[in-house]
């Protein structure tokens, strides 16, 4: 077997266009991490390891035939739900939240698994009932979504539950949930807001208000947001230069390698750098939409659309939070923030996208 053939076999189910976008974002990640960690190579090597593991997962999933994905949808979802219940009953408590399940050799966070399992399950469900979709099917799909979301919200983990709820909602939306229902839900939510507000405790209301006006608690919770905004704003048009960010290197920024890595990037590369980064995200998302548009089956269209939109949601919520237009919820910047689990989940998702793209291409030819 010669090298060319090997390369062909290796690349067979990978999408070079999507891959180049992902690669560029991952390079940015390594570059910024080195600065954000204060020149710590271990952080960079660690992230490289995360990427490697994630990439193996991506390759495997990309090479999986689509009907395999269909087949594992239900077992994975059931397994995930069982583990979520397990967490609620026997989970490890850390940082005031019950999120981890002690598997003996490692601590596992089942909510991460659900990021893939929930849209997979819902897409599978819609595919199964494609021909005879009625209101009942939407209600059941919604229940499939709300059960894990409720369990994760209880842990509590607001960030993850919002992202999973979003990924499920995208499936519902793409599956054609009627505008009237969507409108009805929005009106109901708006109408019940004052009522819910009255039911909250004072300290809860304070926390919510604080989310929208961080200066009210500049030394406490608002500190993160304010320092993030200072970092972004002081970066200016061209940035302070690589490794030159004062907010970053003098420890004013919290969570520099994870949730606030966008602030590090913005401080050092400025508005021009941000346009470039947003361009990269737009490129990856655009490619995702193309794959979605070309997907041949109902299941794959729903899956591809949900994965693409969820990826965008990650990015938007993180950047919105760092730049102060969204409240602080613990969401990392996808592909850029340091973190093994989220890297694995994200690359797994892109593996699914590539599988969808390449397998039907093979079908077509």
């Amino acid at each position: 077997m010669n090298l060319r053939l090997l390369r062909q076999r290796f690349m067979l189910h990978l999408d070079p266009i999507l891959l180049s976008g992902l690669g560029a974002l991952l390079l940015v990640s390594l570059l910024v991490l080195y600065s954000a960690s204060g020149g710590n190579e271990m952080r960079v090597l660690g992230q490289l390891g995360n990427i490697a593991i994630g990439f193996v997962a991506l390759w495997i999933v990309a090479n999986m035939p689509l009907h395999w994905l269909m087949r594992i949808a239900v077992p994975i979802y059931v397994l995930g739900m069982l583990m979520l219940v397990g967490v609620a009953l026997f989970g490890e408590i850390s940082h005031g939240a019950r999120r981890w399940l002690n598997l003996g050799f490692m601590n596992f966070q089942p909510s991460e698994l659900m990021k893939v399992a929930v849209p997979l399950m819902m897409a599978w469900y819609f595919e199964k009932h494609e021909a005879t979709l009625t209101m009942k099917n939407y209600v059941i799909a919604t229940l499939l979504l709300l059960m894990p979301v409720a369990l994760i919200l209880r842990q509590p983990d607001l960030g993850t539950s919002i992202l999973i709820a979003a990924s499920g909602f995208y499936v519902l939306f793409l599956a054609g949930l009627s505008w009237r229902v969507i409108g009805g839900l929005l009106v109901t939510a708006a109408a019940s807001a004052p009522f819910l507000w009255n039911m909250l405790h004072d300290y809860q209301r304070h926390r919510i208000l604080m989310l929208f006006d961080p200066s009210q608690d500049a030394l406490g919770k608002g500190y993160h947001t304010i320092q993030g905004m200072i970092a972004v704003g002081s970066g200016g048009l061209l940035g302070k230069g690589y490794m030159q960010g004062t907010q970053t290197h003098l420890d004013f920024l919290p969570e520099r390698t994870t949730d606030f890595i966008f602030a590090v990037y913005s401080e050092e590369f400025g508005f021009v750098g941000n346009l470039f980064l947003l361009g990269l995200f737009a490129f990856v998302i655009g490619r995702g939409f193309m794959i979605t548009a070309n997907a041949s089956t109902y299941f794959t269209r729903l899956m591809a659309g949900s994965i693409t939109l969820t990826f965008f949601t990650y990015a938007f919520v993180n950047m919105g939070m760092v730049s102060g237009i969204l409240p602080v919820v613990g969401v990392p910047l996808p592909l850029v923030s340091y973190g093994g689990t989220s890297m694995l989940t994200l690359l797994l998702g892109f593996g699914v996208l590539m599988s969808i793209h390449t397998h039907q291409r093979l079908v077509k030819t």
């Binding site: 054609g176 200072i230 947003l278 939409f289 950047m319 730049s323 102060g324």
Partner: protein, 631 residues
């Protein structure tokens, strides 16, 4: 389910899906645009604002307090200096249980009750986040012992500071004043004058005396260190340093040796003395007795010491030389004699016959002379030598109060001299106009009679009288009295005007008569002969006695029957050498009785030291050490 229906559904569903996907695309596009707009707003629109915030995050400005200017006397004797020392300071806002902390500190270093009292006083007037000294001037041993335990005391720190010290203590207290911790009122004042930045690191400010008047010159310019700090407040590196400019050194006109001689010459008497070089207005000595220890005030005086000073019947905090107002008594007579000649009311040859009292025409009230039975035949010359009251009762009546006022005010009576100290008072030189304004009463002839001998409404400060004497000594050419000779080795021009303040153009023969008579005062037959027996230089003087309580008609003043604080004040004015005066002075001994017996001997000691270098016996501080002083 037929294939046909399925196909149709399939197409319709694909169409619907495409619509939804396009909607999503638009949704993503809008949100991305919002992100671009937001980062543009932060990074371009509001960049300056956030840049400033980032800079103030990381740059910490540390003020570097300048050294306060040293004060020396005219010969370089140090009167106020700074020395380095360590204090133990507490920031009350950072200490959870203040009393417990102080108790704990007390186990390691001795905290005297005095320190505690001072601390309590400072607590009541502190600014927020100010650090207050619990214990000043730590010994090396205390420093070492506490330094190892410092970690146990959050909010407590050891600070290296420069302390102000006044080596001559009370000898120079009223002159130099003192510095003290800046209070809220002074801080507000500094802010109003836009000086707050220059006092960022300063804890002290001049409160009285020279320290107050020359605060601006002596404080210096605060330096800055810009330090880059991390979020934890740790210094990362120094960005820039502007060195402080030390305060300027003041060289006073004062002669510290003379000051000490004068102070000791007072013995137990309260009083004041001001000595001036009549040729240039330089103040050679400025004494107010009793003094106080200005060093007590620097870090806040404790309540007990304060009460002791404040409630003492001797009023040691009162600057008598500057703010004490006393009737000038007979010391006014030489000036009256000049007025008499000026208005040609008295020719030198004219004499009166003094029966020992004076009566206004048409009145039977007797204004008594100090000498029962009178002085007999008295002319202008003799009237000064024997201090004849009757002569001046008549002269004053003849001149009238308003001419007296017009002439005497030229010598500076009734107005501030403008010395470079705060709080000077003006004394009082009465006139009919003044009385009408003040009491809505007309001026009575009787008022004029007592004004003629420096009683009645007349009030002078020792400084005023010394200034008038210096003007007389210098033949009517006056120089601005001042205390500062040089600021940072440059002549102080504002105060030490080389030009005379004024020239009264007194005719030479008038001066000759008065000065001659004043020289006769210290000779046999004069009122101050005892004090100047055997004097080796020509000296001119005049005694004076200022009544504290009035003596009723027909009664005789008897010092032994009057309580100490109601006894007469003793005055003596003098200048020497009489032919070419180098020093003019006014001495006041409160409740000292006769000028000739208590005030004149003080003046003698001062003149002997200044002109001959004669040292009275027990000289401790300056005079003895003067040779050894090498800074």
């Amino acid at each position: 389910m037929t294939p046909h229906v399925e196909l149709k559904n399939h197409q319709r569903e694909r169409y619907l899906f495409s619509l939804r996907l396009i909607f999503c695309l638009g949704f993503v596009g809008v949100l991305l645009a919002i992100l671009v707009a937001r980062t543009f707003y932060l990074q371009v629109w509001k960049h300056d604002y956030f840049d400033t915030m980032a800079e103030s995050n990381r740059i910490f400005v540390v003020p570097i307090v300048p050294n306060r200017g040293v004060i020396t006397d005219r010969n370089g004797v140090v009167l106020a200096r700074n020395y380095a020392g360590y204090t133990l300071e507490v920031t009350p806002d950072k200490v959870p249980d203040l009393n417990a902390t102080i108790d704990e500190i007390g186990k390691l270093v001795e905290i005297k009750p005095k320190d505690l009292r001072r601390f309590k006083k400072l607590m009541s007037e502190r600014r927020s986040l100010q650090t207050l000294p619990v214990k000043t001037r730590l010994t090396d041993e205390e420093l070492a012992r506490f330094a190892t335990q410092l970690y146990r005391f959050p909010g407590v720190e050891i600070k290296a500071r420069l302390f102000r010290e006044y080596p001559l203590s009370e000898t120079t207290s009223h002159l130099l004043g003192y510095i003290g911790r800046i209070n809220q009122q002074e801080l507000d004042e500094l802010e109003k004058q836009d000086l707050a930045a220059n006092y960022m690191g300063s804890d002290y400010i001049g409160k009285t005396g020279i320290e107050q008047r020359y605060e601006k010159e002596m404080h210096g310019v605060t330096g800055m260190e810009q330090i880059e700090v991390d979020a934890g407040g740790r210094a990362v590196r120094m960005l820039s340093r502007t060195p402080p400019q030390s305060g300027k050194e003041l060289k006073l006109t004062l002669d510290a040796g003379l000051q000490e001689v004068a102070e000791q010459a007072f013995g137990d008497y309260r009083g004041a003395m001001v000595a001036i070089d009549p040729t240039n207005g330089e103040i050679l000595s400025f004494v107010s007795k009793p003094g106080y220890d200005p060093n007590l005030f620097i870090d806040g005086i404790d309540t007990e010491s304060w009460d002791a000073l404040n409630n003492s019947p001797d009023v040691p905090l009162n600057n008598r030389a500057l703010r004490g107002q006393y009737p000038p008594g007979s010391t006014i007579k030489p000036f009256m004699a000049l007025a008499g000649q000026h208005y040609e009311a008295r020719a030198p040859g004219f004499s009166i016959s003094d029966p020992g009292y004076y009566m206004l025409p048409g009145s039977s009230h007797q204004y008594r002379d100090w000498k029962t039975g009178g002085h007999g035949k008295v002319d202008l010359f003799t009237s000064i030598v024997v201090s004849c009251d009757t002569y001046y009762y008549g002269l004053a009546t003849e001149l009238g109060i308003d001419r007296m006022h017009e002439y005497l005010q030229q010598f500076g009576f009734g107005k501030r001299t403008g010395i470079d100290l705060e709080g000077e008072v003006s004394g009082l030189l009465p006139s009919s106009e003044w009385k009408m304004k003040r009491y809505q009463q007309i001026w009575y002839p009787g008022d004029t009679v007592s004004a003629g001998i420096g009683q009645g409404y007349n009030l002078v400060t020792p400084l005023q009288l010394a200034f008038a004497t210096a003007t007389l000594a210098n033949d009517g050419v006056a120089y601005q009295p001042h205390l500062v000779k040089e600021i940072q080795h440059a002549p102080e021009e504002q105060q030490a005007a080389t030009e005379p303040l004024f020239d009264l153009q007194i005719p030479a023969e008038h001066l000759k008569l008065v000065k001659g008579a004043m020289q006769a005062v210290v000779k046999p037959g004069g009122t101050a002969v005892g004090a100047f027996w055997g004097v080796e230089y020509p000296v001119a003087g005049k005694t004076g006695t200022a009544q504290v309580i009035g003596v009723k008609q027909g009664e005789k003043y008897d010092a032994d029957k009057v309580s100490e604080y109601n006894r007469d004040h003793a005055w003596f004015i003098a200048f020497a050498p009489a032919d070419k005066p180098r020093i003019a002075l006014a001495v006041l001994a409160e409740n000292g009785g006769h000028g000739g017996s208590t005030a004149a001997p003080i003046a003698r000691k001062v003149l002997d030291y200044y002109l001959l270098g004669k040292k009275p016996k027990p000289m401790q501080k300056v005079v003895e050490k003067a040779g050894a002083e090498d800074d």
